[in-house]
Each structure stands twice: as C-alpha cells, then as structure tokens.
Subunit: 368 residues, 2 copies
C-alpha cells in the first residue's frame, strides 16, 4: 500500500489506461451482460450508498425492491408472488435449492434432477449444499427430455430444475410438461430464467414458463442480463410469498430481526436500476428491444448459413450457435465456444444490427 | 408492468420521493456501512458496466482486482497472498469454510470452531455447507476464550474461526494464540476481519491478526465497510495464492475455463472503488481516518459515562456499547441493540465529531 497516497488525477489517469485494456463492446459477441441502459445508470448513481441488507435504514429503497418483485410477479402471472433481489443467477439458483433442502430436512441423501444443459451454477450449488445432481439428457432439439427427467425422480428427489433460455444454446425446456411432472411427484420445481425471463414474456408468441403453470415453485431472473440493469441485479421469485422465510437466520443487531438472503450487505443501486429500465420502457419498450435482438439473431443465422456455417441449434431466444472452428473467426471479434467446434454468439442489446452486418462482412472476407 | 412505460422525469421524481424516505446518514449510528468516499463513487461510475466474472473481456478491470488483492497482501504481511473480490463478508466467510470442507472431503461430519460473538453469516454458511458449528464462549472482556477453543477441536474439526473486530462489541479475538492452536491441530484458521481489517493495521499499536502470524490461512475484509468503497466490495485473502483453485468449477463458455468464485457475474465497479480509496488516501490517509473514528468512539464513551451510561465493553475498534434502555435514546437517532439492554453505536467515517456532540447533547437534554 502506498504510504502517502496518490493525487486524484494521477490515479484516474491510471484507471483510464486500465479501462482502455478492457474489450470494446462493439466487438463483444459472447456475453450475456450488456451495456446498462442510461436510466439504469442514472438510478444506480442516485441510490449509490443504499444497503438493502438493513432495510430499516433504507425504507424507501427497500420499497423499490418490493416494487421490482411486484413487477415480475405480475409479469409472471402471479401477482401475490414473493421474492428478493439477489446478486445474480448463481445466488438465485443456490437459494432455490437451499429452500428445497430446508423444506425436506429428513431426506439424508437429497438429489436434484437437472438438465445437462443447466448453467454450471447448479453444479456449484449442489456441491455447496451437499445435494446429488442428477443430469437429464437433452432431446435432439437440445431441450431437456421430460420423460427422462420423470424417470430420474425418486423418493430422495427434493427439486426439479428446468431452464428457460439455456446459456449455451438459447433453448427453453418443456416447462409445462416438467411442471406437471413436478406436481405429480410433489417436488419443488425451479425455473432458471436468468436469461430468458426478460425475453420470453416479450416474444410475439410467449412460451409458457412461469407461474401460470401450476407446479412452478420458484423462478430466477437476472435484470443485469436482458434487463439492461447495472451489475449485480438478480431476482428470485417464489409463488408463495412466505416461502423464503424457511431460510430465516436471526440478525440480532439490524433493523430487521431475521433475514433469508444469502448476502448480508446488499446494494440497492442496481435494484433500482433494474426497476428504472422496466418502468421506463414498459411492456412495449421491452417488446421492441426483444424484437430487435431476435431479428438480429435470425439475420446472423441466415448470414452465417450463406457462408456455409451450419446452425448448431434453432434457438428460442437470442443465442445463435454454429458448427465452426476457431480459425473461422476474424480478429478482433470476441465470440465464445460452448464446446470444441460449436461457436456461440449472444445477440444482446449492445449488438446492434449494424454490428451483425460488420461481423458478417468480416466473416465473408475471411472466407472469400 | 406498465404497458407504455413512464417518462424519465416522472420516474425519477418518484425515485427522489422514495429516496427521501431513506434515513438521513446524519442520524445513522447503527451501521457498519458508510457514505462512500467520492473517489470510490467516481471510480465506480467509470467502471459501471464491467463484469469480473468474464475477465477475458475486461482484462484491465481484472488487473485492478488483482492490484487490490496485492494491496491487502502487502498490508497483511504476505506479499504473495492470493484472493479475490467477493460480494462481502458472508461470501468470504462461506467460501473460507467451503475451502476447509473441500480440502477434507473424507471427514463425514465436519465441524467448525467459531466464537459465540461471530457474525450470523457463520451460522448461515455452516447451515448451507452442512458443517456443525461449535460455539466457543467468550472471556469476560468479550473476546473468544482460546483455551475453550482448543478444547472444542477434535478429529472432525476442519476450521477454526477468529474475529478481528466483532460486529456487536468491536473486540479483537486473541488471534495470535488461536493461530498457534490452529497450527498445532493442523486446521484451517480463518480470520473474519470484515470490519477490523481496515481499522487494525492503521491503529497506533496494531493488534496482530494477519498473515504475520503463522497459522492464519485466510482473511475476510470488507472495503465497503471501513474502506469507504461502494457496495458490494468484499475480499477473501488466502496465504497460499493457489488455495482457491480447490473450489474450481468448469465454465465452458467463458473466456476463462474455470472459476472458484461464488457468483458468476461480478461487478468490477465497487472493486475499483475500493482500490481508489486505498490508493488515494494511502497509509497516512487511512491512519488519519481511523484515528478520527477512534477519537470519536472514546469521546462518545466518555460522554455517555458522564450521563451515567456504563460501557458494555472496552472496544478494540470503533464500536461503542452501553447498558441502556430503548427509551433512553431520543428521536430521530438510529442506534442498534445487540441484545435487550445493550445499546450499540458504530463510529463510522460519516459519524463526524460534530454528530457525536449533537447526539450527546440530545441525550443530555432527555436525561436532564
């Protein structure tokens, strides 16, 4: 640590230099995060010092967190649903599995039935919680095989998981069929809609994935992904508003006496940022944004197929995947690889149509 | 959700109104968070969109995270220490216990030996991880009893925990004695310095609590507390730089192939905020800040004793506690209660000397 400290301008000149080492979003095609919407940034700055971990000190901010939850509850067809703002999908998924475990303490070797396409946060969460993760194979469209899921469920199963918008291929699992199976077996059914939760409701033909399906217990959604909020902004929704109280821990010295969250101190700023985007854009604005991302996804797939790159899947949301090799991709574009030979591009809001055309042009020149 | 969306000025007028419902920091005497330092806010805004969860996209920001870790490593007398920026103390403590558990997979019923004064995040973490938490009583100065701790350790003990600056009474456990015990029994020793980690090094006579003591394995410190950074900014430090790799999970589609963090997406903004404060103030600036907080703490204790309020402890850091009743405290001051009859005030940087005098004046008038 420096003894005397550094003059502010010298320090920020150094920070600017480091910032320039980060990649230019114009070339980032691989991320499920995006540039935050200006209203999210404005709200974030306004609520910079707020701490939702001590809501009695910040009752105004805490009421905005509850308003965000209410927005999702209405959007997901269960106005009375409860929930809270998490640090993102991992915390939401971990807390949902923790809920399942706490509710069924008597099961000594609990397992969770999870599609093979699930985000790695499920492996992390199962490891942490001591839950056996039972993988369910996908069908040939890369969606979870519902019959195979049903076969995996036994008396030690505490949770079934479905994904609404897989990280790698952008598929929506057969949530309606899975919800029925969960109901039949009376297990908690968690829908990981971290990505798709702010895409699917705004599609021309929304795929059923939410509390409109009896059997869906909890839903994870990340406003810091397609919600264009600042990081970290996740939400865990529960159909029963009081379900989370099963996780309560005593908090002797705070303005509340118990808390069910994972973190103690929690930033209010990104949470108000998330609400700002939803309320500023409204359903119509979100529909327009999603429409644009889907249009770009289709254009990218069509363009790539023109150059002979076969799609790896026909996605439900704005994730495009192709059979390709690393040397097929020109610099400085930043794409990702879900496995060797499978190229993945996420058409986030910052990936404008003009960037898709520029990418296709560069691909075309490399393969001319 | 609104259909058409809300005009920006109307929305922000509503947010302003909600913001005014939050408490005025001038009267908040109960929090371990504070108003962020202006350089933290400036750095936060500069790095608003960065995601440390995908460091290949943000190599500049990721290098600043490593620089923050290096600052703490040097401050804690182990320049080669490793670590990462967490969402705060709960994640740091959970990850330290997770490390202990992963390293000793063969122990079927692991336990952790934790002082009764430990933050409730340890109960949360032990519940999540399936670790038995063995409470160790405190001595009559409210510090962990090292002999009692040694007696609790058995062949199933995977971790010993000591607190450097307890949340409730501001005490530093006998870390040196505990480090020796941990060494003798060969268990991981985690020091929770979430609060004290940015106080103790800057005291006139620092109490040994860090890697200078052989036996200390991991340290938690929260820059969003006394480091005056924005929320969320925590750090987990490990003496062995590679220790965290025991927690690695495969991350197929990211710019890195594995990660050991709890969250996936992680904000870079508060992390650069934390570094900004440390580098701007330097050791001398932090010393001056800590000196002021300690002076205010002593003045508060002396003033309260003048009015007949007995101290509940003689703290090592800037937390003052008194025997008092709720009706002793005038509105609109916001204090906290560690247990019925024990008033607690944290003299954070936003609690200036003038606020202490104003509080004492109000107390004096109520008790005149």
């Amino acid at each position: 640590m420096l003894n005397k400290g550094c003059p502010e301008e010298e320090l920020f000149s150094f920070f600017s230099q480091k910032k320039r080492e980060d990649l230019d979003h114009n070339y980032i095609l691989s991320s499920m995060c995006t540039l935050p919407h200006p209203v999210a940034v404005r709200a974030h700055c306004m609520f910079m010092e707020t701490n939702l971990g001590d809501p009695g000190l910040f009752p105004g901010t805490a009421s905005l967190e509850q308003l965000l939850i209410k927005r999702f509850a209405a959007l997901y067809h269960c106005p009375d649903a409860g929930g809270y703002a998490t640090s993102g999908g991992t915390e939401s998924n971990l807390q949902a599995l923790r809920l399942a475990k706490v509710q069924q303490k008597d099961i000594p070797y609990p397992n969770a039935v999870v599609p093979e396409s699930a985000h790695f946060s499920f492996k992390k969460s199962c490891d942490i919680l001591g839950i056996e993760m039972r993988g369910v194979p996908l069908d040939d469209t890369l969606r979870m095989d519902a019959d195979a899921a049903a076969e995996q469920i036994d008396s030690n199963t505490i949770a079934l998981v479905g994904i609404a918008g897989t990280t790698e291929y952008g598929m929506v699992d057969p949530i309606a069929a899975l919800a029925k199976i969960a109901n039949q077996h009376n297990v908690l059914f968690h829908v990981d809609a971290a990505f798709g939760g702010m895409v699917i409701p705004f599609l021309d033909k929304p795929i059923p994935f939410d509390f409109s399906l009896p059997g869906v217990t909890t839903i994870a959604v990340d406003p810091h992904k397609m919600g264009m909020s600042t990081i970290p902004a996740g939400c865990l929704l529960t159909r029963e508003p009081d379900l989370l109280h099963a996780l309560n821990i005593d908090t002797p010295y705070l303005t509340v006496k118990q808390e069910f969250t994972l973190a103690g101190t929690r930033p209010g700023a990104p949470v108000v940022g998330a609400l700002a985007v939803m309320d500023y854009l409204g359903v119509e604005g979100m529909r327009a944004m999603v429409k644009g991302c889907l249009k770009n996804t289709r254009r990218l797939i069509a363009g790539m197929e023109t150059f002979g790159f076969e799609r790896a899947a026909t996605p439900d949301v704005n994730v495009a995947t192709f059979i390709a090799k690393k040397e097929d991709i020109p610099a400085p574009w930043k794409v990702s690889w879900t496995r060797p030979g499978h190229l993945r591009i996420v058409c986030m809001p910052h990936v404008h149509g003009e960037r898709i055309e520029a990418f296709l042009k560069d691909i075309g020149e490399l393969h001319a």
